[in-house]
Amino acid sequence: MRKVLKYGILVLFVTAAVFPFIWLLSTSLKGAEELFAFPPKLIPNKLVFENYSGAWNSVPFGTYLVNSVLIVIFSVTLNVLIASLAGFALARFKFKGREFFFLIVLASMMVPKEIIIIPLYIIVLKMSLADTLAGVVIPFAADGFSIFLMRQSFMSIPKEIEEAALVDGCSLPRLWWSIMAPMTKASMATLAIFSFIGAWGDFLWPLVVLKSPENYTLQVGLNYMLGTFINNYRYVAAGAVLTIIPVVLVFLFMQKYFEKGLFAGIGK
C-alpha cells in the first residue's frame, strides 16, 4: 500500500515536470501543418527531423557549441575547486576573520546581477578581458552559493575523522584532498551540475562581454532564432532540445557520485 502511494506521488510530480519538455520535443518534430492543429496533438503524425538540421544551420551552431563547451569546462572546474577549498577552510577551521570572510561569501550571493554587470564590465575591460572567453569565465569562477554549498557539506563531516587523521600526522592539503573532499562527492557532483547549468544557460553576461560572433555561446545563438526576421517555432524547439540534451547527459553522469557508502570503511 505504501509503495502505491509513494509511486503515485512520484508519477504525479514527474508528469508535471516532464510534460513541458515532452511538448517541446513534440514541437521540434512536427511539420508546419501540425504546429497549430487544434486540439493539440502530442505525437506528431509525421516525424520531421529536418527541424534539427534547419536549426543547426540557421545560426552557427557548431561554433557556438564549441564556445559553450570551453566555457563550461573551465567554469565548472574552477568553481568546484575554489568552492571546495574555501568551503573546507570556512567549515573546519577557526581563524581570525572567519566570520568576516563568511560574510563576504554570503554578501556575494545577494548582489543583484542585472545591475552589477555595468561596473563589472568596466573592470573586465580594464583587465583586457573583454570579448574573450576568459572574460566570461573568470569573474564568476568564485561563486558565493558554491562556497556556501561546500561549507555546509564539509560541516556535516564528523569531527572524529579529522582528529584521527591529524593524529596520524596528516598535512592539511592531504586532509583536504585525500580524505575530506572525497566525502563531499555528492555535494561536489551537485555543484558541478549546478555550475554546468549556470554556465551553459547564462545569457546576459556572455552577451555583454562578447562582441565577436566567433565567440558567442549557445544561449545567445538560441536567442537569435527568435527575432523579427527569423522566427520559426519548430527550429527554435529543436534548438532548445539540442541545448538541453548535454545537460541531461551530464546530470545522469554525475549520478554515480551519489552512491551511498561514502562512510563505509572510513569509520575508525
Binding site: 508546419a32 501543418e33 504546429l35 497549430f36 487544434f38 540557421s58 545560426v59 552557427p60 570551453l70 573551465f74 572546474t77 542585472e114 554587470i117 555595468i118 561596473p119 564590465y121 568596466i122 575591460l125 583586457s128 578581458l129 573583454a130 570579448d131 574573450t132 572567453l133 576568459a134 572574460g135 569565465v137 545569457f203 546576459l204 552577451l207 555583454v208 562582441k211 565577436s212 560572433p213 566567433e214 565567440n215 545567445v220 536567442n223 537569435y224 527575432g227 523579427t228 526576421f229 527569423i230 522566427n231 520559426n232 517555432y233 519548430r234
Partner: protein, 425 residues
C-alpha cells in the same frame, strides 16, 4: 604524475580562453557599428556591403557587431559606462527617443550638409528629429496593414466589401463578427505599449497640446473613443490577454487561428508563412485602419552616431553609404521593410503584384507610406516611457473594471500633467 600532466594541459587550454580582443595599431580607422538583431539573417548582405565600402575606403575598417534585442540596452549602457561605445548604432524609435533625451547622440547636421538629407522621406526624417536636431538617419521603415483570414471571414458570411477601413468600422465589425461566430475578431495590443494613443492621434485627438505641457487625451471625444475599446474588452469581444501582450506578440494569436485579423506590419507575414502555412494560405491584405485624419503609424529604424565617437565624420560618411538608394533597396527586398529614401521607393518592386499576400502588403504599404507619420508625438518627450506606462496602466485598470474609463483617463491625465510640467532635469 598524471595529475601534473593534466594540470599542464588544463592550464595551456586555459590560456586559449584569453584569445581575442586585441587590436593592432596602424593608421587604419576602425569604426564600430552595432545593429539590432539582424544577424544571421542578413549576414551576407552586411558582409558584402561592408567589404565594398572598405575597398573604396582603404583607411577605414568597419567592425560590425549585432546584438539581440533583449539585452541591447544593457550591452549599450555597459559600453557607454566603460567609455567604449560604438561609433554608429542602429536604434528603434523608442531607443532613439531615450538616447536623444540624454544627449547621447550627435546632431547629424553638424557633420554632413543639410541638403544631403533631402533624399530621405520627409516623414521618416521627421521621426529622427528631436528638439529640431536631426539625431539619426532614417533607415528601414515599416508601416501597418490589415491582415485577415479570408476563410474565417467567408465562414462568418463576410465579403470583401465588409472589411473595415476606419476604426469606427472596426469596432462595429468586431462586435458583428463575434456575435456571428462566437470567436474573437482580432487581436490588438491595447494595454501594453498600447496602440490606442496612435488610434486617438489618427482620429484627430492629440495626446497632448502642441507644446506638450498638458495632456488632452481625456477630452470628451478622447474618452468616447477609448471607451469603445474598453467596452469591447469588458464585453469580451477581445481576448483577456489583449491588455497584457505587447505589439511584438501580435502575430501569435493570428497564426494559431484564434483571431481573424490583426493590424500590423507586412514583415510579420513571413513568420505566419513559416509557422502556420494553412493560415498563410488564407491570408489576405487590406489597407491600414485609419481614423478621421487618414493617418497611420510609421515605424522607423534609424542609424545614429554616438556623441562619444571620435570619428564622427567618417561614421557619417559610412551611414550615408549604408542608407543610399541602392543599398536600401537591396535590404528592403531581403527584409520585407521599406527604404527611407525617395529614390528607392520608386522602384517597380513596390508596385508589382504577384498574387502573394507579401506582394500585396508591400504594394499597399508603399502607397500608404508617404501618409504615415510618427503618431506617437509624445515620443519626443524625454520621459515618454513613464507617460506610456501611466497610460497603459490606466487602460488596464479601466478594462479590468477597477475604474470607469473616464476616471482612469482623468487620473492618468493628471499624472501626465505633473510630468509634462516638470522642466528638463
Amino acid at each position: 604524475m598524471k595529475n601534473i600532466k593534466l594540470a599542464v594541459v588544463f592550464f595551456a587550454a586555459f590560456l586559449m580562453l584569453f584569445a581575442g580582443g586585441c587590436a593592432k595599431k596602424t593608421n587604419v580607422i576602425t569604426l564600430e557599428f552595432w545593429t539590432l538583431q539582424l544577424s544571421p539573417v542578413f549576414d551576407n548582405y552586411f558582409k558584402t556591403v561592408i567589404k565594398k565600402y572598405e575597398a573604396e575606403h582603404p583607411n577605414i575598417k568597419i567592425r560590425w557587431v549585432d546584438i539581440p534585442y533583449d539585452a541591447a540596452v544593457q550591452k549599450l549602457m555597459a559600453s557607454i559606462a566603460a567609455g567604449k561605445p560604438p561609433d554608429a548604432v542602429n536604434l528603434s524609435a523608442d531607443f532613439l527617443s531615450k538616447f536623444a533625451g540624454i544627449n547621447a547622440l550627435t546632431d547629424i547636421t553638424t557633420v554632413i550638409p543639410r541638403d544631403s538629407l533631402y533624399i530621405y522621406l520627409p516623414n521618416a526624417l521627421q521621426s529622427c528629429t528631436f528638439n529640431n536636431k536631426v539625431v539619426a538617419l532614417p533607415w528601414y521603415l515599416s508601416t501597418y496593414v490589415l491582415l485577415y483570414n479570408k476563410a474565417f471571414f467567408a465562414d462568418a458570411g463576410f465579403t470583401e466589401k465588409d472589411i473595415p477601413k476606419t476604426f469606427k468600422e472596426l469596432v462595429k465589425f468586431a462586435r458583428e463578427y463575434k456575435n456571428r461566430t462566437n470567436k474573437y475578431p482580432l487581436f490588438w495590443n491595447i494595454g501594453k505599449d498600447s496602440y490606442l494613443p496612435m488610434m486617438l492621434e489618427s482620429e484627430g485627438v492629440s495626446m497632448t497640446d502642441p507644446e506638450m505641457k498638458k495632456a488632452t487625451f481625456n477630452s470628451p471625444q478622447g474618452i468616447t473613443l477609448i471607451s469603445q475599446w474598453v467596452d469591447l474588452y469588458r464585453e469580451k469581444y477581445l481576448q483577456s490577454e489583449s491588455i497584457m501582450k505587447p505589439g511584438s506578440s501580435i502575430a501569435e494569436a493570428y497564426q494559431s487561428g484564434q483571431v481573424a485579423m490583426i493590424f500590423t506590419g507586412p514583415v510579420f507575414i513571413k513568420r505566419i508563412k513559416t509557422n502556420a502555412p494553412e493560415i498563410y494560405k488564407n491570408t489576405d491584405v487590406s489597407l491600414a485602419i485609419v481614423g478621421q485624419t487618414g493617418k497611420h503609424e510609421l515605424a522607423v529604424m534609424s542609424l545614429s552616431i554616438m556623441a562619444q565617437s571620435k570619428y564622427k565624420k567618417e561614421t557619417a560618411e559610412f551611414l550615408k553609404y549604408l542608407t543610399n538608394a541602392q543599398n536600401q533597396l537591396e535590404f528592403a527586398k531581403l527584409s520585407t521593410t521599406y527604404p527611407s529614401v525617395k529614390e528607392a521607393l520608386k522602384d517597380s518592386y513596390f508596385v508589382a503584384l504577384d498574387g502573394t499576400p507579401e506582394a500585396k502588403a508591400r504594394v499597399i504599404g508603399a502607397i500608404e507610406l508617404p501618409y504615415a507619420d510618427r503618431l506617437r508625438k509624445y515620443l519626443a518627450h524625454p520621459q515618454f516611457d513613464r507617460l506610456r506606462d501611466i497610460f497603459d496602466e490606466a487602460i488596464q485598470s479601466a478594462c479590468l473594471g477597477k475604474t470607469t474609463t473616464a476616471e482612469a483617463l482623468n487620473q492618468a491625465a493628471e499624472k501626465w500633467d505633473e510630468i509634462l510640467l516638470q522642466d528638463e532635469k
